[in-house]
């Protein structure tokens, strides 16, 4: 058997953090891809199950890791689905960015009274706002978009609650950090 080090042409120094982020992002990408093939009743109305991972990461690790995981998920999923830089990607990215902005502030809410359900709802609303801004100012520059806002926001609330409950469940059944044993 040859030594693996002799065959290596490029070696990238990776840290334990990198491995952890890659692993968590892979979960999120998997969920994103599953969701992408599910039929949607209406364009834009999706459960956003990948956000469960973002929330889980925010609770188990920190905000910076959540940003990494969320953005890696958006970019990698779009490459895998072949819609990188397309309108779908722009919607996904703007939603993720606004969602992260909401989480940045929401993470300081007292944990005693607010669980992942609150964070999930706020993130879902912010996600919709991000998407609607792109729709209104780029894709469909028409006031008629306003007519769809209530439906989108109602969907965001429903899925926000469900994702939040699932995040609480995940946190409950994984009381320790995911990969403390290996780097």
């Amino acid at each position: 058997m040859t030594q693996p080090s002799k065959n290596k042409l490029i070696e990238i120094q990776t840290t334990a953090d990198d491995h952890r982020i890659a692993k968590l992002a892979a979960f999120a990408i998997g969920l994103h891809l599953i969701e992408a093939v599910l039929p949607s009743p209406m364009p834009g109305v999706k459960p956003g199950i990948a956000n469960i991972i973002t929330l889980f990461v925010l609770y188990r690790f920190d905000f910076a890791t959540a940003v990494w995981v969320s953005l890696l998920r958006v970019f990698a999923s779009s490459l895998l689905l072949g819609n990188f830089l397309s309108p779908t990607f722009a919607l996904s990215l703007s939603g993720a960015l606004l969602s992260l902005a909401a989480l940045f502030f929401a993470q300081y809410l007292p944990r005693r009274y607010f669980s992942a359900v609150t964070l999930s709802i706020l993130a879902a609303f912010a996600h919709m706002v991000g998407q609607l801004l792109v729709v209104r100012f780029w894709l469909i520059p028409h006031g008629g978009v306003a007519y769809l806002i209530p439906i989108f926001m109602a969907a965001a609330l429903v899925f926000g609650v469900i994702n939040g409950l699932l995040t609480n469940y995940l946190l409950r059944i994984n009381p320790v950090k995911l990969d403390e044993d290996k780097g």
Binding site: S115, H142, G144, Y147, P150, N168
Partner: protein
């Protein structure tokens, strides 16, 4: 798992956020979905505004489009496509329009109707 339940109990803050969100979404429905009786009819031909009529007066309008004559009828505060030379007649089948923001479009003949209100807080789109 030593814990009795894997589901955490809802926290008071979560419940308040959900209630507040429900009110917020309900409020969005009331302000964005409230539609009033329209007062005016705007007709477009191609990319130009062809004419704007009041819905208070009954009348019939014939418009010469690229493939023929489209007839639009205004009666009792409502408007509709009465006749169109297009093959599918989607515009005619859409029937009477009466609320502000409603619209009907005949793509083959490039004629579209949009109902306008006295004041127009929000546009709306029906499909």
């Amino acid at each position: 798992m030593a814990s009795t339940s894997k589901w955490t109990k809802p926290l008071i803050g979560d419940v308040l956020v959900i209630l507040f969100s429900l009110v917020f979404v309900g409020y969005l429905f009331t302000i964005l979905w409230h539609s009033e009786q329209a007062t005016k009819l705007q007709i477009r031909l191609g990319d130009k505004i062809y004419a704007t009529y009041s819905l208070a007066q009954n009348r019939s309008i014939d418009i010469q489009g690229p493939i023929g004559i489209t007839r639009i009828v205004i009666a009792n505060g409502k408007a509709r496509f009465a006749h169109s030379p297009c093959p599918n007649k989607y515009c005619v089948h859409q029937g009477w329009l009466s609320h502000q923001g409603q619209a009907a479009i005949c793509l083959p003949n490039q004629v579209s109707l949009e109902l306008l209100g006295g004041e127009k807080p929000f546009d709306s789109l029906n499909y």
